[in-house]
């Protein structure tokens, strides 16, 4: 039984239920089928049905068998992926306080160090500086787009 399919199916059911219940609170239209709640309710119901089928098929096909790991997990290193997701979120949060420059340099440095085969601080620093400068050049100088300033510097 593929655990991921089971989890995905259950999650889809939960999302479907949330949308269906929320749609029920929307005001009605003269013709119910053309009201604001109709389409989301229809889609949510279809999602719950399909998700239930997925859960059912997954449980049925895996009944009595041991859970199967996704083959991709064997060839992929999960830890750096989770770290990357975490530091991307931190980058987003940091930008709102310290703005573009510092947060981007630190983010780039972290990613570079995380993905290096052989540790080299010099390479990471140069990469970080280069990329930050390039992004600044493209967006701020060339395109005249504004970059995040950060509340600490306003």
């Amino acid at each position: 039984m593929k655990v991921a399919d089971l989890v995905g199916g259950i999650l889809a059911i939960i999302i479907g239920v949330v949308f269906y219940v929320s749609a029920g609170t929307l005001p009605e239209f003269n013709l119910k089928l053309a009201g604001p709640a109709f389409f989301p309710e229809l889609v949510a119901a279809a999602q719950i049905f399909c998700a239930a089928c997925l859960v059912g098929v997954t449980v049925y096909s895996g009944y009595g068998k041991t859970p199967v790991k996704n083959a991709d997990m064997e060839s992929e290193n999960i830890k750096p992926i989770l770290i990357t997701m975490a530091i991307t979120v931190i980058y987003y949060l940091a930008m709102s306080y310290i703005g573009f420059w510092l947060s981007t340099v630190l983010f780039s440095l972290s990613l570079s160090m995380l993905t290096q085969k052989k540790r080299s601080w010099l390479d990471a620093v140069l990469t970080s500086a280069g990329i930050t400068g390039m992004v600044y050049g493209v967006f701020s100088v060339l395109l005249k787009a504004s970059l995040p300033v950060g509340s600490l510097f306003r």
Partner: protein
């Protein structure tokens, strides 16, 4: 005739011409680097086109589209790693040729075949699109609903290995598309009091997240392989005898690619597999396919680039993207204030014809640049993860911010990046999600307007012939794919 001449004048303006060349170069490079695709390149560069007027922006993006579809073949041939999924088939004959010291001929073949495919599909697009747009003027909301359902059904039925997962990805996208203000009554839905959500889920951060950031997460976890490069490219130009073989193989491939491109959801990958399979099946020497013959490369690459014009047809005429790349291009058009559909051909002929001219011209540019850029691109494709990952990640984040200057868009991009990564990892196809996000509002609007017209009767969808036909085809597609999947599970014969 005036429109055509004006279009050529516009396209040959120095800035527009330069942007097309730049687009092709960027497309070839992005296509060549494994993990990056034309879709990602367009998603990352859309923010850069905000400051441009529509024509230069579209010419740049079309250059990327055409260049990207060819670029994947360079690394497929030289380092046995397709730059794009659509170039996977090119490895079968391309790499054996490189091993024999014929990398140059293989790449020259790929370039010529790609150009032929791109040109043929562009010409078909130029002929068919105005006709389809004219026919679509007579479409009512009923037909638009059926076209939308057909499009989405085709996408989820063809994408991925599991029909249920494809359906769930589609339905999830439709649910997300209903967030924001109701299209008919001005009341907020599922916004949870957040004013920023009243405009709905923003398209650009969703695309950047699903295609760019998700790829960053995947790249970080992927193992870096030791690569053997066949850089002794040698002569890239084929002999006259080989050239005739390429053209012969490319004719059928181009038509297959164009037709498959018109079908929503079926992109270059499916086209190249179908074309290669057909070429082998109809060959007098099928056993030679896979040993390193130019016909194999030509069949795959002509179909691969043949998709480009085909996919543009439903996108321009009906607002229904033919593949993931045109889905992103559709978003780019919308951001430029242009609404794809039959009215585009009525109100913006001054933009449509330059797009046509751009599709033709960028193929010629790709032919010239493709032959010249082989060696440098092979080396660029070896860019290390520690440099590639930060570049793509930061461009993605800042690109998402740049559209509206709001950090909330960055949050959306990151959320979609995580969703996109998890979906790919656990084999939930991403293409149906992005297509349903784009098509959802149109489908809902059309459905509700149709039901208002019919006073709540669903019969309106089956009593109108075009609508009935499309829904029937959609149903047949689902049943066929369901049977195929059930049979695959039980190892039936014939599948």
């Amino acid at each position: 005739m005036d429109a055509v001449l004006n279009a050529l004048v516009v396209v040959f303006q120095p800035m527009n011409f330069a942007l097309m060349i730049l687009g092709v170069i960027i497309g070839i490079i992005f296509g060549a680097i494994p993990g990056l695709t034309a879709t990602l390149a367009i998603a990352l560069l859309i923010p850069i086109t905000f400051t441009m007027s529509p024509i230069p922006a579209l010419l740049l993006l079309l250059g990327i589209y055409n260049g990207g579809m060819f670029g994947g073949s360079i690394t497929a041939i030289t380092i046995r790693t397709p730059g794009t999924p659509a170039a996977a088939v090119t490895v079968l004959d391309g790499y054996p040729m490189a091993q024999r010291g014929q990398a140059g001929l293989a790449i020259g073949t790929a370039c010529i075949a790609s150009t032929f495919g791109g040109l043929m599909s562009a010409l078909i697009m130029i002929v068919l699109a105005p006709l389809l747009a004219k026919a679509a003027l007579a479409f009512s909301p009923v037909e638009y609903f059926s076209v939308g359902v057909f499009g989405l059904t085709a996408v989820f039925a063809i994408s991925g290995k599991n029909l249920l997962k494809g359906a769930l990805a589609t339905l999830f996208g439709l649910l997300l598309s209903s967030i924001g203000l109701d299209p008919i009554l001005p009341i907020p839905r599922f916004t949870f009091g957040e004013i920023e959500l009243s405009g709905g889920i923003p398209f650009l951060p969703a695309v950047i997240g699903l295609f760019a950031l998700a790829e960053v997460f995947r790249l970080v976890g992927a193992k870096e392989k030791d690569i053997i490069i066949h850089t002794d490219v040698g002569n890239v130009l084929p002999s006259w005898k080989d050239f005739k073989k390429i053209i012969r193989a490319s004719v059928k491939g181009s038509l297959i690619g164009t037709w498959i491109g018109i079908l929503p959801g079926a992109g270059g990958t499916i086209a190249s597999y179908v074309s290669y399979g057909e070429a082998r099946r109809s060959s007098k020497n099928p056993e030679l396919y896979g040993t390193g013959i130019i016909e194999g490369i030509a069949a795959a690459e002509s179909a691969n680039n043949g998709v480009t014009g085909g996919a543009m047809i439903p996108m321009l005429t009906l607002g229904i993207p033919g593949d993931a790349v045109t889905a992103v291009l559709l978003g780019a058009l919308t951001i430029q204030g242009l609404q794809p559909g039959p009215m585009l051909f009525q109100e913006h002929v001054d933009i449509v014809y330059p797009v046509f001219a751009g599709m033709l011209l960028s193929n010629f540019i790709m032919l010239l640049l493709g032959l010249v850029m082989v060696k440098p691109v092979s080396y660029i494709a070896r860019i290390k993860k520690q440099h590639l990952v930060p570049i793509v990640a930061i461009f993605s984040v800042i690109g998402a911010f740049a559209e509206s200057g709001s950090l909330l868009m960055v949050a959306f991009a990151i959320a979609f990046g995580i969703i996109g990564y998890l979906m790919e990892k656990y084999e939930f196809p991403v293409a149906p999600l992005i297509l349903s996000l784009i098509l959802g509002p149109m489908i809902e609007n059309a459905l509700r307007q149709s039901l208002i017209m019919s006073q709540g009767s669903w019969g309106i969808f089956v009593t109108r012939p075009i609508s009935a036909g499309l829904l029937l085809i959609a149903l047949a597609t689902v049943i066929t794919m369901l049977r195929r999947q059930l049979c695959l599970n039980k190892n039936c014969e014939g599948y």
